[in-house]
Point group: C2
DNA sequence: CGGAATCCTAGAAGATACTG
DNA sequence: CAGTATCTTCTAGGATTCCG
């Protein structure tokens, strides 16, 4: 299952939806539109299958689709946020480590 | 950085090394030998570059190499374990969700 | 023992264009 | 608006073999 969490976007989507239900394009803009619609759809489908989110489609014009975290999805917020915090706190350390690794000329 | 955590083995390795320094083959057997040596090496190298582990090689015969978590690596244990727990606790729910998704014939 | 070298596959991710 | 379709690229991961 960790592989699911590990894919590039799932974690981000969970954290974004943590603030509440969003529609497809809202979700996408919250991600800076850096994700291709196909990839977003794909990711959302996987998350739906895994029971992390629910997808509610409205038969309207213009069409509307809303994505909401399930209880299972909600329960993921905490541990995921913990890692997010870790990454944030240690961002500098990581960059330093990588720089060091690429720089063998230690004086 | 989350992508690094997301790869298939890094999380597992951190949690295994949490119990203490291990050598290449020990590490591998702790993973049930389910990982190809190439992949293990590759993963360990990435982790080294990211400053999560240190690699100490002994110029002996037979050769020995020991892997130890750095402070940075140690700091990852908690949040990673949190996700591990989550996955364990919700394993059943996940399977159920997937089964449901593949089975539209709800009676 | 601890890797490195080689070859291969699956699938995630991205760009672009199109449709109900 | 919310996708789908198609094509392409990239690389993690895997199996096997060989070497110091």
């Amino acid at each position: 299952m960790l592989d699911r969490i590990g894919d590039k976007w799932t974690t981000l989507i969970v954290l974004i939806l943590a603030d509440g239900t969003l529609r497809f394009s809202e979700l996408r803009s919250h991600m800076g539109n850096r994700i291709a619609p196909k990839v977003l759809t794909q990711t959302l489908r996987r998350m739906e299958i895994d029971g992390l989110i629910t997808r509610q489609v409205f038969a309207e014009v213009p069409p509307r689709a809303e994505y909401t975290l399930t209880d299972l999805g909600l329960s993921l917020i905490e541990p995921l946020a913990a890692i997010g915090d870790w990454a944030e706190v240690n961002a500098a350390a990581l960059l330093a480590a990588r720089a060091r690794a690429g720089d063998s000329s230690a004086t």
